[in-house]
Amino acid sequence: MAALEEGFTLSAVPLGAGPHGLLGVEQSDKADQFLVTDGGRTVILYKVSDQKPLGSWSVKQGQIITCPAVCNFQTGEYIVVHDNKVLRIWSNEDVNLDKVFKATLSAEIYRIHSIQGAEPLVLFKEGAVRGLEALLAEPQQKIETVISDEEVIKWTKIFMVFKHPVLIFITEKHGNYFAYIQKFNSHTLSKYTLVLGQEEKSVIQSFTASVDRKFISLMSLSSDGCIYETLVPIHPSDPEKDQRVVRSLLLKTVVSDDARNGVALTVLDQDHVAVLGPPLPSSKECISIWNTKFQTLQTSKELSQGTSGQLWYYGENLFVLHGKFLMVIPYKCEVSSLAGALGKLKHSQDPGTQTVPHFVNWETSRGHRLGSQNSEQSKRILRRRKTEVNVQNPASKQLLSAIKKDSEKHIEEELCKFLAIKPTPDFNTIIGDIVSELLGRHKAEPSFYPRNSLMQLIQTHVLSHSLCPGLMEAALEKADVQVLQLCLQQFPDIPETVTCACLKIFLSISDGSLQEAEINMESVSDYSDSVQEEKMEEQTEVLHNGFNAEEENCGNCDRELNKKPQDAAEETMSCPVIPKRAALLNAILHSAYSEMFLLPHLKDIPAQHVTLFLQYLYFLYLKCSENATMTLPGLHPPTLNQIMDWICLLLDANFTVVVMIPEAKSLLLSLYKFVKSQICICSELNKIEVSFRELQKLNQEKNNRELYSIEVLEL
């Protein structure tokens, strides 16, 4: 038996101040929470069971909300339209609607429909329908006109039929009504003319609809106070032809026929409808529940303060604007039937939640693509949650098969095609698969080394060493410095052994083969001009950090060192390696490492290479100390800390060897001198600190003395 429970007021704030009452009440992604769009500028999110608002937002003064706010069930964000064309999308955390995502469309919107399990659909006033994602991807796209000139959309609703949204909207033109059914799995639009039957003159005041497997049961409340039902087929027999549907009387005179406005109708379940309006002329407005099967009035409730003639029904609650306040009336319908009483009733499954058939549904996959869930990813950051269906990308499949047998050239082409497609969330795993596939083939036939493809893949920024451990190995094997440099720049997780192996190759590879390689030189600036600055250079070398290393207290070593200062300067000032090698070494300097793991491997580097690397590092250091900020010129150069750390590392690892090499002697001496000067500076600073502390103490003592004194005062 259907019953209305005691209603309660949802808000203590007056709503519906505008001429059209509320714009709408819509479900949000959380059960029990509803978005109420006031006629003016405000959207409020209510939690019904707590009877309290959770948040509210409003558009700027001068703007007006033209369509009820809905929740995008896929992302949990809210969407509202103001000034007919401007979309606003925001989430719970946003405070100010002014600052949220905004999209201005080219045509005026009638409604946005959002339903669980599908992306929001935008219905334009001209009858066109678009998916939200597609619209946001290109907001200014042209929107076609579907309905004729003076036709006006009166009412619209969305259903899920076999997991696909079906949209119905009713238009009116010169007293004639038309129903349009838009299906999204097949993208068909069918038009029906509603034949009003004998009551030609009556005006339809309110619509509601429910869905069956094959029909949309459209109910309308006419101005004569009767409810009519029209069955509109979902799958038209002949979509091309304009079809006519006839309506039949369902319930007679449920509301007074002179009720001009303030009547509304909503279908509750198979057999029940709720009607809002005065049951008799001159009586107060009522909300009544009718059983359509038995044509009986089940229950009724008087709403003495008047309503706005709007009625919403979600879950178990009826929402009605009673007076100035939004009222929630819980509706319950205990199923009672003869069969139930006899205990023979079996609950049939609700047609709306039909399980999906297990066989392949071609419409489904097509629908997915067209529904732009996978292929058309919007790049907006606002999207926080993605309910993606992991579908193997056909392009990647094709590519993977191509890798197995095709030529490098062909693979490259396929790869370009694949990369041209916008990335999906599983993009990096696909890339990883491709790389391992390529390397697998390389292993099987060593002559196959798709260098260009690999470089392209590395530059997607999604690879890491752990995702394709074989890649650097292969590059090391091939001594492919270009790929190695890329890897060092891109991969965040290169093991120290590999770093060290790269270093070995970078130091040992001949200048000739380096000249051929295409190496990214951005970390190396043009050091050649340093020759001109040589004179100045000499001075900075002596005056490290403003401290003169030549002072007497610096020990005898200085004098030994300064015997041929001119030679030393010239020797150190020209870059010991060619720029390309410098670029490679810089990539090493930039890479992350842990001292513990790197040291043992550094010991394996041959002595002359260690010296070369040290010379290069020392050269970089001198370059650094040229300017006050202690940085190197150029884009992304190694930092002073990186240089110093590597000098220390190299010396720690190879000290015994380096000491024995005659070529390294001058280098070591200059490093020694440098360290010595640094120590001197530190000790001087310490001395100063002590004197400062003494001064401070003296100052304090002076204060202490003043805590008590006996003074002479003459007045």
């Binding site: 405000t42 409020i44 309290k52 002479v712 003459e714 007045l715």
Partner: protein
């Protein structure tokens, strides 16, 4: 006027407590201030900002909210979960009611003054009905998720805004349900802070809610729609307090950076009726957090961690350019915290929870004006006496002979006997204090240290005879019938015959100790008494008032003295009247009966009644004339007021003997050095 050796004492390590709340009462033009140690002080803004009353604090009673209700009723609430009403006549706590909602963070009285709302730790907002003699719990509003840190009523009394953590709720008072929940942006300069605490809310009659929060924002909300209207980012740190003027045309906020911002509702263009809130003036009078602000019709009042109470007059609201138009910074209490034993050259310092006894040093050297003399003995810290229990000390006194110390808290009175044996001191508590001696507002020993006078908070005055190690209750002067006003100031004549006492508003009563009866009452004056003293020999009572007037009243003759009449007729020098701290102590020279010594926080003055009075044309603060000038000029420029401003801030000054003064200073720098470091603000660069 002579040469003095001055013991310049700076070791009184007194730190005023930080200000937690201020509440302004428009009706009586009084300001209630609560401090972090629980003390509540009442300033009379009409009486030259004099701190006329105070309620001692309590360790467990951290006051978080303070407000005035209908008439002159003062309520406070704090972290112990209690709502307290203060008795402003008897100067004690009338009652405490537990709100049963955990610590109370906020409190607001309804615009009609009949209801009291408190916001609790557990997220509840509780409504109390204010009955004529108590408060009565009425109901709870919808419970919120987190503590309610701020509350404000709509001027119509129908709605309430409550600031919590991360959101503001608007309640309907009738139903007690939350009508709106306005979420506050946690973002702070692009960085998401963990929480955004709404430190303060204000509700205007047009429905605008103004909130201040920990992200440095001042936000305007429309309570009808529950949406954000305007946002001002004013600080890099918390904005901690807000107060709106009664006309709702201006409001003031205080930030943790010590800045106070003034917002005003001004017309968009010169002749349009459309108005908008504009941040007009920033004031930087504080170094630390401004925890509380108030808005009087003519001034912005602010206080915070740096312990200053700052009253900044709004120049456009001040009509006459008198001393009300000047910025006031009140740092020190307007009562004495120091007493002195002249005989033994001892100083007793009163702190919140302990007393310190110091012996002054000595010197044998002499010198000329301005010299610092070498010490033959430095000052000694003799005693550190800690109170028992959580209550703060109200008052303390050391007897002139130095062998008695008495102090009182709200519920207990303590008397100690000190014995000196060479360099050793022994302390002995006098036990079994009589039941009536529970709480004292003022304690005084007679000059010969044989009598103890105690002003209790019921308006009665007890006279006790002190014997070696014991005491005897001699008499209790009951208050005049019909009055319950407590006596705050006492003075006894050096010969021990007269006792003068004064409350906060009624006149000064003079009692005859010999006959134990009321001798006379000095006619009451509009302004409260700030200091009292009876001169030796003549028994003239000198009274200083908060409007800087000084009267001399002859006790034997029961009338004002001739000198007092003369100076009232001629009037005080305008600069004298413009001083902004009250006179807190008056003393006399034993050998020069014409001299009166008095001091406030910034000057020390000797009035020589034999010299002509200064008029407005003469220099009030005249420095010592050069000695080479002839005596004639010297005499001509000399006038009755000899003022020295060497010692400041001066908390206490007294004459130890004919040629020796003691001055206790408390340099502000020493206080600042002991405060927590302020928020660093970059002065240069970005």
């Amino acid at each position: 006027m002579g040469e003095f050796k001055v013991h310049r004492v700076r070791f009184f390590n007194y730190i005023p407590s930080g200000i937690r709340c201020v509440a302004y009462n428009n009706q009586s033009n009084r300001l209630a201030v609560s401090r972090t140690d629980g003390t509540v002080e009442i300033y009379n803004l009409s009486a030259n900002y004099f701190q006329e009353k105070f309620f001692p604090g309590h360790e467990s009673r951290a006051t978080e909210a303070l407000c005035w209700a209908k008439g002159q009723r003062l309520f406070s609430a704090g972290l112990n979960g209690e709502i307290i009403e203060y008795d402003l006549q008897a100067l004690n706590i009338k009652y405490a009611v537990d709100a049963f909602g955990g610590p109370i963070w906020s409190m607001a009285v309804s615009p009609h003054g009949s209801q009291l709302l408190v916001g609790c730790e557990d997220g509840s907002v509780k409504l109390f009905q204010i009955t004529p003699d108590k408060i009565q719990f009425e109901r709870n509003f919808d419970r919120q998720k987190s503590r309610i840190l701020s509350l404000c009523w709509h001027p119509s009394g129908t709605h309430v805004a409550a600031g919590s953590i991360d959101y503001i709720s608007v309640f309907d008072v009738k139903s007690g349900s939350a009508v709106h929940k306005m979420l506050v942006d946690r973002q702070y300069m692009g960085v998401s802070k963990r929480k955004c605490i709404i430190w303060g809310v204000a509700f205007l009659s047009d429905g605008t809610v103004i909130s201040v929060d920990s992200a440095g924002k001042v936000q305007f909300w429309d309570s009808a729609t529950g949406t954000l209207v305007k946002n001002h980012l004013i600080a890099n740190a918390d904005v901690q307090s807000i107060a709106v003027s009664d006309q709702e045309d201006s409001f003031v906020v205080g930030t943790a950076e010590g800045t106070v911002f003034h917002f005003q509702l001004v017309s968009v263009t010169s002749n349009s009726s459309e108005k908008q809130w504009v941040r007009t003036k920033p004031f930087q009078h504080h170094t630390h957090d401004v925890r509380a602000v108030a808005h009087s019709p003519t001034a912005l009042i602010s206080g915070g961690t740096d312990t200053h109470l700052v009253i900044r007059p709004l120049m456009e609201k001040v009509e006459v350019k008198n001393y009300d138009a000047a910025l006031r910074k009140i740092t020190f209490p307007h009562r004495r915290l120091i007493s002195c034993s002249k005989k033994r050259q001892l100083l007793l310092f009163q702190f919140t929870h302990h007393l310190e006894l110091w012996r002054l040093g000595s010197t044998v050297a002499t010198g000329k004006n301005g010299d610092t003399l070498p010490l033959s003995r430095n000052a000694d810290h003799l005693l550190h006496l800690k109170t028992k229990g959580p209550e703060n000390i109200i008052c303390s006194c050391i007897s002139p002979c130095g062998s008695w110390i008495a102090y009182s808290t709200t519920s207990r009175f303590f008397l100690y006997r000190l014995n000196y044996e060479h360099d050793n001191i022994s302390l002995q508590r006098v036990s079994k204090m009589p039941a009536f001696l529970r709480s004292a507002l003022q304690i005084l020993f007679s000059e010969d240290s044989t009598k103890l006078f105690v002003a209790s908070n019921q308006g009665s005055l007890h006279v006790i005879r002190l014997l070696e190690g014991s005491f005897k209750h001699l008499h209790t002067f009951q208050p005049q019938s019909g009055t319950v006003e407590s006596m705050c100031l006492l003075a006894v004549s050096p010969d021990g015959n007269w006792l003068a006492s004064s409350g906060t508003s009624a006149g000064v009563h003079v009692y005859n100790i010999k006959h134990l009866k009321l001798h006379c009452t000095v006619p009451s004056y509009n302004f409260p008494v700030t200091a009292l003293a009876i001169a030796p020999n003549t028994n003239n009572l000198v009274i200083a008032h908060s409007d800087q007037q000084v009267f001399e009243y002859s006790i034997p003759d029961k009338q004002y003295t001739e000198w007092s009449r003369t100076i009232q007729k001629q009037g005080f020098h305008y600069l004298w009247l413009q001083r902004d701290t009250p006179i807190t102590h008056i003393s006399f020279h034993p050998k020069r009966p014409m001299h009166i010594l008095l001091h406030d926080a910034y000057m020390f003055c000797i009035i020589d009644k034999s010299l002509p009075l200064p008029n407005d044309k003469t220099l009030l603060y005249n420095p010592l004339p050069p000695t080479k000038e002839s005596d004639v000029i010297r005499r001509r420029t000399a006038h009755a007021f000899k003022i020295s401003k060497i010692y400041k801030p001066l908390l206490f000054m007294d004459l130890l003997d004919e040629r020796t003064l003691v001055a206790v200073e408390r340099p502000l720098d020493d206080i600042i050095a002991q405060l927590p470091p302020p928020i660093k603000k970059k002065k240069f660069g970005t």
